[in-house]
Symmetry: C2
């Protein structure tokens, strides 16, 4: 799987920051939602401090999206852009049964390739 197509973000050495967005989608307007989500993802990638994104939604409409950022300041700047576009207001009122947003500081990490051998 090439880096360009991997669903796992290639992030730098910690520390950096993450926005963890967990949601339950209402069963409505799937096409409009997909169009909005694609537009917002494309915009996020252009923001200063953007490091990557991982996003999964299951067949039962539960989703987790984690976006990675250089700093809390770049997260706040992106939130201001998103708010201005109204995506959050529309989403809250029409697209989500529930959601939670958590802002986190990534302290450390490892990958399959870098994982220490168990028991050694």
């Amino acid at each position: 799987m090439s880096p360009a197509t991997s669903p796992i973000a290639r992030t730098p050495e910690p520390p950096y920051y993450a926005v963890i967005f967990t949601s339950v989608r209402l069963a409505a307007e799937d096409e409009a939602y997909a169009a909005m989500a694609e537009k917002m993802d494309a915009l996020a990638r252009q923001q200063p401090g953007y490091l990557g994104i991982e996003s999964v939604r299951s067949a039962d409409r539960v989703g987790i999206t984690v976006s990675y950022w250089e700093s809390e300041a770049t997260i706040l700047a992106w939130k201001r852009v998103a708010d201005h576009l109204g995506a959050q207001r529309v989403g809250r009122e029409r697209w989500y049964a529930d959601y939670t947003v958590r802002i986190a500081r990534i302290e450390r990490g490892y990958t399959l390739a870098s994982s220490p051998r168990v028991g050694l």
Copy 2:
């Protein structure tokens, strides 16, 4: 949606900690994997410091699981239990094409119910 069945974890006021596990599953041994995952989740829930878990896997075998913990110490204690059970070694060799683990400190958060009105 009742708290007991919600896929969104009810976590306390920050700060607390999270393990973000993003993975790509190989197309093999789905039943054995599901049995292992269920067993590990049940064990995690019994660990000291466990606060909750959110887990989603898409039809194309990409998964994000976020578990929440009181402290880094309780995360490390759970990792020792999991390593001892060999789940990580088996997973790495047989079940995953790729994965990344990130340990994070949750700094702040909000929910649909507590979200500030946009533009106000």
